[in-house]
Symmetry: C2
Subunit: 126 residues, 2 copies
DNA sequence: CATACTAGTTTCTCTTTGGTAACCGGTTAC
DNA sequence: GTAACCGGTTACCAAAGAGAAACTAGTATG
């Protein structure tokens, strides 16, 4: 058994738990589109978002992938889907309260992406 | 042109830049293993990490994938590879200073994974 | 001389991912 | 009536992802 005072072993145990937690996150949030969709919906909480609108505004996503990813996000309670009895019928997608808990993840990814781009541009100019 | 004072349009422009930044991040950090490897190396900065050790301790990764992912991380200057003239020859992998800038991303993913697991367990027990 | 360890690479295969394009039913505008 | 919009689904196909197992090459051990 791990000795409480052995930093090496304790750290190793913590590490493995951390990696398992990260695996859990990546299983739910991983892939090409899920975090993009969540970020998009988080930024538009004040608007009603329809399927076609998302497809137009998330660069490069196809109807097939958007449909598939939205289903999976809905299953994991991160996104809500509401049919509105308008004519023609429209469907409103929105981030759920639980979905908002992913905000810190997308926030760090946005920030890292911005600084990474700066780094690349600097390395070209120098 | 976008009106400076039109919150809708300004927000939309910001959103699209945010999504582009996230796409940049996901292109470099996305996939099944890269963030796992970076987290593992970040946690072991005080140790010398060899190839076989990583393969044993990152659950489920194959030699092929580990080799491929390490190459890509090295290309992006996130991981360093140092051949040590021991006998037998060993190769030490380490996180770079730039690689450490990814820590906020893995941190939020670990935290989200932990709370997500709690949520799942609660929803089973209730 | 056989075994085992380091650090991978190669081959083969299967699965997953993802894109294109056609298509569906319903509604509305011309 | 016909074209266009909404919210998708389906079929087809290509590319990428990923695992298993065999293999290379050098060193060291018994």
């Amino acid at each position: 058994m791990a000795k409480i005072n052995d930093n090496g072993i304790v750290r190793e145990a913590n590490c493995s738990e951390e990696l398992m937690a990260m695996r859990d996150s990546l299983d739910v949030l991983g892939g090409k589109w899920k975090l993009m969709i969540l970020r998009f919906l988080t930024n538009r909480t004040h608007q009603v978002i329809h399927f076609k609108k998302m497809q137009r505004e998330i660069d490069g996503i196809s109807a097939k992938m958007l449909s598939k990813e939205l289903k999976e996000l809905e299953t994991n309670l991160l996104v809500s889907r509401t049919i509105q009895e308008t004519k023609p019928i429209t469907v409103a997608y929105a981030i759920t309260e639980y979905g908002k808990s992913v905000l810190p993840v997308t926030e760090t990814l946005v920030n890292w992406g911005l600084s990474h781009r700066e780094k690349i541009i600097d390395s070209i100019n120098k």
